[in-house]
């Protein structure tokens, strides 16, 4: 049984075995990784500390234990982080503090300036999607492995792209510099990255690459939108922050939100795989229904947990910027609707009997609701959430 395979094989990046003695289970590599993180944080403080306020520094330091935990739990995360650091620093050093270098340096122009890196991310995501589908269609392990490598490459380029964009914003002007999660363009990149990373984690955790075709499809759609947005609306241009967005709450609210959205998108794609498999389509190639159901639940659980935090952070921010933690602005209201929807989903699952296709359908519909909250509100409704209007 597939399940037995999952449970018996110790996963290379699987969960730390038992809560009591995980500290002892850490090897030399783990400690080296931790040391590298600490050094990296100090390097960042020393190099860029001048542009940071107390909160920035606090958040930076907070990332050390967070990334340490992630890397200890999920070993594949480390080379990724190292690659991102290498690419970003290479790009930054090529800039030599001058924006114009983006046009002069070949490497910057065609490889690792922010726009180009994000273009590479887009291309790699499309390629990875094709590879995963090919793997599914031909039952080719090789194609699926290729898909995996391409996805890692895509998130590396995308993440580096965002870091470089952050740096570029400071080159435009010290008062303009800000973390690139402040408009629709930037959060679409973030969404693609986080969804891909979540997928890569589950791929390892459940030992199956068969879901890549489905999850990468939704990321491809996001990237497609991103490109449309870039080419028709020039949305990629770095803009300074309007006063309402100048808040450290933004820096925690937005990424938290997108972990939620990413996880919900993932669950919906797994849900659609479930619905297909249930009807016998691709059934022999997809993981067993129990596994699909489990991934779907796990994704919604993590999405719900993060979305809860994100909504609360949003309320805290609103309390400071607008004077009210909640005022039924369309964006807020739709966040509540998304949240209620998944709360109902979780309760549904707890009541006996509700399993299977009903929950899978619900997860798929959930993505529609999420998409409306994410995009539809900006397109069709007006409100206070002024960033990212289409």
């Amino acid at each position: 049984m597939e399940l037995a395979r999952i449970s018996h094989q110790p996963q290379p990046g699987g969960a730390v075995p038992r809560s009591g003695d995980w500290l002892r289970s850490l090897g030399l590599g783990d400690w080296l990784y931790a040391a590298a993180l600490v050094l990296g944080a100090f390097f960042a403080l020393q190099q860029y500390g001048a542009s940071m306020d107390v909160y920035d520094k606090g958040i930076l330091l907070l990332h050390v234990p967070i990334l340490m935990a992630v890397g200890w739990h999920w070993k594949a995360f480390r080379p990724f982080l190292a690659a991102v650091a290498a690419v970003s620093l290479a790009s930054i050093s090529l800039y030599q503090g001058e924006l114009a270098r983006a046009e002069q340096s070949f490497l910057l122009k065609y490889l690792i300036s922010s726009q180009t890196a994000i273009m590479w991310m887009s291309a790699l995501i499309f390629m990875a999607t094709a590879a995963y589908w090919l793997g599914l269609a031909l039952r080719s392990d090789f194609a699926e492995k290729t898909g995996n490598v391409l996805t890692w490459a895509a998130v590396t380029m995308g993440t580096s792209g965002l870091f470089v964009r952050w740096y570029e914003s400071y080159l435009i002007g010290p008062d303009i510099g800000h973390i690139p999660i402040s408009n629709l363009y930037e959060v679409f990149v973030l969404f693609s990255l986080l969804t891909a990373l979540l997928y890569l984690y589950y791929e390892l955790r459940y030992g199956t690459r068969r879901l890549g075709a489905f999850v990468l499809t939704v990321i491809s759609a996001a990237v497609g939108f991103l490109l449309w947005y870039t080419f028709t609306r020039e949305a990629h241009q770095i803009q300074p922050l309007i006063p309402a967005l100048q808040s450290y709450w933004m820096k925690v609210h937005v990424p938290t939100n997108f972990i939620g959205y990413g996880a919900f998108a993932l669950s919906a794609m797994v849900g659609s795989a479930y619905l297909l498999a249930e009807r016998g389509v691709l059934a022999s190639r997809l993981p067993p229904l129990r596994v699909l159901e489990d991934v779907m639940y796990k994704a919604i659980a993590i999405g719900f947990a993060f979305f809860t935090i994100a909504t609360i952070l949003g309320a805290l921010w609103a309390a400071e910027a607008w004077g009210t933690y909640w005022q039924w602005d369309p964006k807020e209201t739709w966040a509540l609707i998304v949240w209620l929807n998944y709360a109902a989903w979780l309760h549904m699952r707890l009541t006996k009997g509700l399993r299977g296709s009903m929950l899978a359908w619900w997860a798929v519909v959930g993505l529609v609701v999420v998409t409306f909250a994410f995009l539809g509100v900006n397109m069709f409704l007006s409100g206070l959430h002024s960033y990212g209007s289409l």
């Binding site: 726009q115 300074p240 808040s247 309390a319 004077g323 609707i337």
Partner: protein, 681 residues
């Protein structure tokens, strides 16, 4: 109510099915308020929905969904349902948390979906010791129960997950109650019980009756405080439906200065108010309030909400456009004021409504050669840094502007928007003045061209001559005389005809500008000839206005203007503006000549007693949700007989990791029990 019914009601309200229905209903109800824009002025809704639907929707509370009683009832149900659910679950949950189920029967353990049987290599006592050690090491708490033929170790872990249930669901109740305290409800109660009544917003603060004033003791409110620079305020205005209530504040706030900083590209960078707070304690506090940096004092939080004009003083040059209005006079007024304005015999009131010191506009691409690239070139434009853009915006501050309404004696008002400085368009300079009939329209702009010396007076002088019926004949004669210089009879005849034509054209033009000339052509010239005819009329107008220009120069003793390209363009622009001026809708053009800006800040003042409750609830919610989702309750039973060990596991959540964990424990225990007697555990 009978016991049975009460019981059934309790069962229903606290049931999971009811909870799910409620969550769904709440979600759907929330949608309504996002589709219709909330809390707009009633007029806007009347326009949007028409006289039939407007009152229907008003009854349903569509304009303020989240404050309607039906919405509050849904929320109340959620609170009730969740509370009952907690009450109902408390006993079983506590029992579950305490209970080890050490009395489980062997037969029932054998029914578990997770169970495994193994053969121990040693006796019961040794196996028992080993099992205890294993369970302790694996983080289980356990109880042993000895039966006649076996020993049962009943172990569990992760019971704290159940506490998560109380945290999360209790938090929902807290948050809803806190939200209710901060919402409209307290105000509605005060209005219902305290005889408070909203009043019209169009009156002086001093005139607002006591029935529309709320005392400083009001526990919960949210209102706006409007303070012009150099003035102070000690009341906040609460919008209630279409009226207002006045909230007294326990202190007075004066605005020293309001700042708006801009980025280089003209986007706003910072809004900040330097304020001074004084209260009866005699203390004075100086603070700066910014967006995202509120300030709390005596339980009231002040936020930077928006800004307005606080009565900037405007100096205006009044250029007469209609007949009988003096060429140039001066006047002054402050934004917010209503000033009488006499234009000849007509009486108007001038309402100065707004002033803006900065206007950053995208002036379009500077060069025409910036055509969008295509194909690979277009793609390459999007490589590189995020700082560049293929379509460069040409943002420029085009200086101050102000808006006003001009109301005639019949009460009809037109709105105008004038820029103070001339604005450049393709190397030429113009004064821009926009006008519109109603708020719903966009401004249509009249562009008054400046002459080569950069003065607008030339155009006004041309305006006076061209539209003066007394000068029309003279002007026509001069045009004709310049064109036909001969003295023969034929020349005289031609001159007369030309004079008539010019005079006729000027008369036509004076009515509705190019429009009446166009109509005349359509009425009298056959279609194929019209274009040529139009050319002729344009030439005639150019000749006439050129002549008018010469006349103004003669009057002021200046030399004639040069006949060059520049002046030709000026002539063309002047005629266009003359034509437009006939539709301007005002007898005067009001040119802003100087200003003394005074800004006003709008602060939001709130007292929200529920905030702490909501934030506490939020914290508990997060803790509870994580505990419920991630602390996994597991029960492990190890039943030890002389020749068999039965291991069984149960969990309150079905998930694959239960299988995984069970397998791990079975593997671990199997290895343990299979070891020979003397191996240390």
């Amino acid at each position: 109510m009978q016991r049975g019914t009460a019981r059934a009601l309790f069962e229903l309200l606290s049931s999971m099915r009811f909870a799910i229905s409620l969550l769904t209903i709440l979600a759907i109800a929330s949608v309504v308020g996002t589709v219709v824009k909330q809390n707009e002025p009633f007029n806007a809704y009347l326009n949007q929905f028409g006289p039939f639907w407007f009152p229907v929707f008003e009854k349903l509370g569509i304009y303020s969904v989240y404050n309607t009683s039906w919405f509050l009832v849904i929320l109340a149900f959620l609170v009730v349902s969740t509370s009952l659910c907690i009450i109902r679950q408390t006993r079983p949950m506590l029992r579950e948390m305490r209970n080890f189920r050490e009395h489980a029967r062997e037969a029932s353990l054998r029914q578990f979906s997770h169970q495994a049987s193994m053969v121990p290599a040693s006796g019961v006592a040794v196996s028992l010791d080993r099992a205890r050690a294993y369970l302790a090491r694996s983080g289980f708490r356990f109880r042993a129960s000895e039966r006649e033929d076996h020993v049962l170790l009943a172990a569990k872990q992760g019971s704290a997950g159940r506490a998560g249930y109380f945290l999360a669901h209790g938090a929902i109740v807290l948050i809803c109650i806190g939200g209710l305290l901060d919402g409209d409800l307290p105000l509605k109660l005060q209005m219902a019980t305290g005889g408070k009544q909203a009043t019209s917003g169009n009156q002086l603060i001093a005139d607002i009756p006591a029935s529309a004033r709320l005392g400083t003791g009001n526990p919960s409110f949210r209102g706006n405080v409007f303070i012009p620079e150099g003035r102070s305020a000690s009341t906040a205005v609460l919008n209630v439906g279409d009226g207002i209530l006045l909230q007294e504040l326990p202190f007075s706030i004066s605005l020293k200065r309001f700042h708006i900083d801009h980025y280089e590209n003209g986007m706003p960078k910072r809004f900040a108010s330097d304020i001074l707070i004084t209260d009866d304690s005699g203390k004075a506090l100086e603070r700066t309030i910014e967006v995202n940096k509120p300030f709390e004092y005596r339980g009231i939080t002040l936020y930077q909400s928006s800004f307005e004009d606080g009565g900037s003083l405007l100096s205006l040059a009044v250029h007469g456009l209609a007949r009988g209005v003096p060429r140039l006079t001066n006047m002054q007024g402050a934004v917010g004021d209503t000033v009488p304005l006499h234009a000849g015999d007509a009486r108007y009131t001038l309402e100065l409504t707004q002033f803006r010191a900065f206007n950053v506009e995208d002036m379009g691409t500077a060069k025409d050669s910036d055509a969008p690239a295509s194909g690979m070139a277009r793609f390459e434009q999007h490589l590189g840094s995020g700082a560049k853009s293929p379509t460069q915006k040409n943002l420029r501050n085009i200086g101050p502007s102000y808006t006003f309404k001009l109301r005639d004696e019949a009460g009809q008002a037109r709105e105008f928007n004038n820029y103070m400085m001339p604005i450049e368009q393709q190397g030429r300079w113009y004064l821009y003045s926009g006008t519109r009939d109603s708020q719903a329209e966009a401004f249509r702009y009249m562009r008054i061209p400046l002459d080569v010396e950069g003065k607008a007076e030339t155009w006004f002088a041309l305006h006076d001559i061209v539209f003066d019926p007394a000068l029309r004949a003279q002007l026509a004669q001069r045009v004709a005389a310049r064109s036909a210089t001969g003295t023969s009879a034929a020349d005289n005849g031609m001159r007369d005809r030309l004079t008539q034509t010019v005079e006729h054209t000027l008369t036509l033009f004076a009515d509705r500008g190019y429009e009446s000339i166009g109509r005349f052509i359509e009425a009298t010239v056959p279609a194929p000839e019209r274009e040529r005819a139009a050319d002729v009329f344009v030439k005639i107008m150019q000749g006439a206005v050129w002549e008018a220009w010469l006349m103004t120069r003669e009057r002021s003793g200046q030399a004639a203007p040069a006949l060059d390209e520049n002046n030709a363009i000026f002539l063309r622009d002047s005629i266009a503006a003359l034509s437009d001026s006939l539709f301007y809708g005002a007898p005067v053009y009001l040119q802003l000549t100087a200003y003394d800006e005074r800004q006003a800040t709008v602060l939001q003042a709130t007292r929200s007693p529920g905030k702490a409750l909501v934030f506490l609830g939020s914290l508990l919610l997060v803790l509870g949700v994580f505990a419920m989702l991630y602390i996994r309750e597991r029960r492990l039973f190890v039943l030890i007989k002389p020749n068999e060990v039965l291991v069984a596991m149960s969990s309150n959540r079905k998930a694959i990791d239960v299988d995984e964990t069970f397998q791990r424990h079975v593997d671990g225990l199997r290895e343990l029990f299979a070891a020979p007697e003397n191996r240390p555990t």
